[in-house]
């Protein structure tokens, strides 16, 4: 499908060249399933840019998704990638990370997946400060299943299961992650590609539970039902209504329908990770009998 009004010559030139992020993607799976102007691809692009920036050894990076439009991310990136069950990427990733702590484990999933059906896992992984890089695409709606309400749907917003407007207060995911103990919490929109890339680069090297919420347009469902215009109109909305406030108190960053979106890095702290705490505590209590302690010492890691 060629976008309207784009000269044939331009399309030919662009399509003859390899996309710059093609080496990071499973090009044999293209075209992807996402709608045009969907923000998920932008978030993927920012992640890939962060890999490039850091020259990450991608053999040691795993990505885990749940189910949803965002859940399909795992299938498109050329990493060890796991498309699991709805709501369960965090416990899956927890096992993966603990079985091989050398891996960098990214969880890339939707707001419904992570905060509705997977909400319990989300809060507990944050509480444990499990060493996971959790990227949540928040489009305020269930995309994959056709636009039903999510725990993130703002009050009054229309979805296919709130046809008269949502009457349930939503979660502020950043506040939730911060309150539960996450080491790193940030929010950006799909417009802020550079800042998003920087945030991803930061979490890729930061130990502990790191959470980045990416506010993205779902033009097909959320925007259509709420008459928010095209994908471009939503980008313009982000441009006009984003307030960048690093260090903002997460409790003060609620998202209100039609209101400003407060973005920035809200939390950046250094609580010990789950495994660090185990190693330290069990090492103290058990001394020489603590097997991992002996191994870590042997490897000169302590």
């Amino acid at each position: 499908m060629s976008p309207k009004g784009v000269p044939e010559a331009v399309i030919a030139a662009v399509s003859s060249e390899e996309h710059p992020i093609a080496p990071f993607l499973r090009m044999d799976r293209m075209p992807h399933i996402w709608c045009s102007t969907c923000g998920i691809g932008t978030a993927v692009k920012a992640l890939v840019a962060a890999f490039e920036k850091l020259e990450t050894d991608l053999d040691k990076v795993s990505i885990v998704s749940g189910i949803g439009c965002t859940g399909r991310v795992a299938g498109y990136v050329r990493l060890d990638s796991f498309h699991t069950t709805h709501g369960r990427p965090i416990p899956f990733a927890t096992g993966l990370k603990l079985a091989n702590s050398e891996l960098t484990v990214i969880v890339f999933s939707g707001d419904g997946d992570l905060s509705a059906i997977g909400g319990n896992h989300f809060i507990h992984a944050a509480r444990r400060n499990m060493d996971l890089k959790v990227i949540c695409v928040n489009n305020f709606i269930y995309g994959m299943t056709g636009g039903q309400a999510a725990p993130t749907t703002p009050l009054t917003a229309v979805t296919s299961t709130t046809p008269y407007g949502n009457a349930e207060p939503p979660f502020n995911l950043c506040h939730l992650a911060a309150a539960c103990g996450a080491n790193y919490v940030a929010r950006w929109t799909a417009l802020h590609v550079r800042r998003l890339t920087k945030a991803f680069a930061e979490i890729l090297v930061k130990p502990g539970f790191c959470f980045v919420e990416v506010i993205t347009p779902c033009s097909t469902l959320y925007a259509r039902k709420n008459r928010l215009g095209t994908g471009l109109d939503i980008m313009k909305y982000y441009h006009d209504n984003t307030v960048i406030e690093h260090g903002a108190e997460p409790a003060d960053t609620d998202i209100v329908f039609g209101g400003p979106i407060i973005c920035g890095k809200f939390v950046d702290r250094d609580r010990p990770t789950w495994l660090e705490y185990q190693d330290q505590h069990l090492g103290e209590v058990l001394g020489d009998k603590y097997y991992r302690g002996k191994v870590l010492q042997g490897a000169g890691e302590r």
């Binding site: 885990v64 299938g75 990638s81 416990p91 899956f92 927890t94």
Partner: protein, 387 residues
């Protein structure tokens, strides 16, 4: 490959079945355990939490059973041998992701120490009513492997077997204990590590750009890559092709699902295990498993004293079911008597395989206790009178 001696407490111990399961797992090389406390299975998790720090294992108490099963699947893809343990309500919560383990062909072990159900049922009391759930509990078509120990010694032995079969067939394996076996304390002999055979993981050695995660050979089991080896593979719970890529089509479903089923069915003779006693001249054959098998023995002795020719078929592995043997014996006996702590589960399986060639009778028990041997005896007596 032999067991790593660090995990093997060679010697004679006195253990309940839950703890023997834990020792079996550790001996088999289990080094990642995720679980959520539930009676009557908790002793297994507790012993693992105590033993793991000394053997290099990671124990984590998750927020629920859904997280527990999913974490062990994730850990298996990280390279670990993994297990979780639970009972009734917990195993119900695990069902969706047991299906994920089936679909991703993930070696892992799930122990279910059965209690009385439905729902919260009888938390501290015995049941054997999860047998069909073990077979069919997750949605979709699949085959499962499940063992049923009748003693702590077997809990130890069968758990090691469960780990080995999980690796051999790349599939979740269930150890189906019951509360009685889980809580009875008996002598458990743990052999030296160098006598315990451990099935290594079937890791691929394909060239990096040639690896196909779900390509398979004659035994229908694909070789596995784990995260971090550099293969950059994809796996999904969606119907997928040999690259592991989702494909929503009848063609792909037909390529995948019949093989998942066939890899167990085709190898059933390698997995099926039962003890058979006195079936040569039997009029009646008792079929039982777990704690009920031990109670059945008392009834069988009683019947033999009274001159009834009774044989015994004791299921060590419940799934896959020994269809062929049950069908063969049916030709020469008057009746089967199935003894189980439920209102008829394996009974229907026996009846199906007997296919009218002999009678199939049930000695049921609603749960909360074991059978009175007298009650079983009465059913045997009835079975002997069948014309």
């Amino acid at each position: 490959m032999k067991a790593d001696p660090i995990g093997v407490r060679t010697g004679t111990l006195y253990l309940d079945g839950d703890r023997a399961t834990a020792e079996g797992a550790i001996a088999a090389g289990c080094r990642f355990f995720a679980g959520y406390p539930i009676t009557p299975s908790t002793e297994c998790a507790e012993l693992i939490s105590e033993r793991f720090p000394e053997v290099g294992g990671i124990f984590i108490q998750m927020e629920d059973e859904i997280a527990s099963i999913t974490a062990i699947i994730g850990a298996a893809w990280g390279g670990a041998r993994t297990m979780t343990v639970t009972s009734g309500p917990g195993i119900s919560l695990m069902m969706e992701n047991i299906g994920l383990a089936i679909m991703l062909e993930t070696p892992c072990v799930v122990a279910n120490v059965q209690r009385g159900g439905p729902s919260t049922g009888l938390p501290t009391m015995v049941g054997q009513a999860d047998v069909m759930q073990a077979r069919w509990g997750s949605h979709g078509d699949y085959e499962i492997i499940a063992y049923s120990p009748q003693s702590p010694q077997e809990a130890f032995d069968f758990t090691i077997k469960a780990f080995n079969m999980a690796e051999r067939y790349r599939t979740p394996v269930i150890v189906l204990l019951d509360e009685c076996v889980g809580h009875m304390v008996e002598k458990v002999v743990i052999p030296p590590a160098d006598t315990i055979e451990i099935e290594p993981r079937r890791l691929t050695d394909a060239a990096k750009d040639e690896y196909l995660p779900f390509a398979y050979g004659d035994d229908l089991v694909p070789d596995m890559a784990i995260a971090g080896m550099g293969y950059r593979f994809h796996v999904t719970g969606l119907t997928h092709d040999e690259r592991g890529y989702p494909e929503m089509s009848v063609r792909c479903q037909e390529w995948l699902v019949p093989r998942l089923v066939a890899k167990i069915r085709q190898n059933a003779d390698d997995i099926i295990e039962f003890d058979e006693e006195n079936t040569d001249d039997a009029d009646v054959v008792v079929v039982s498993y777990g704690i009920s098998a031990r109670v059945s023995r008392m009834a069988i002795d009683l019947a033999r004293e009274k001159g009834i020719k009774v044989g015994f078929l004791r299921l060590r592995a419940i799934w896959p079911f020994p269809e062929k043997r049950v069908a063969e014996l049916a030709k020469k006996i008057k009746s089967y008597v199935v003894v189980e702590i439920n209102l008829g589960q394996i009974y229907y399986e026996v009846q199906r395989c007997a296919a009218g060639r002999c009678e199939t009778l049930l000695s049921p028990h609603a749960g909360g206790g074991v059978h009175d041997p007298e009650d079983i005896f009465k059913v045997i007596e009835k079975g002997a009178k069948v014309k």
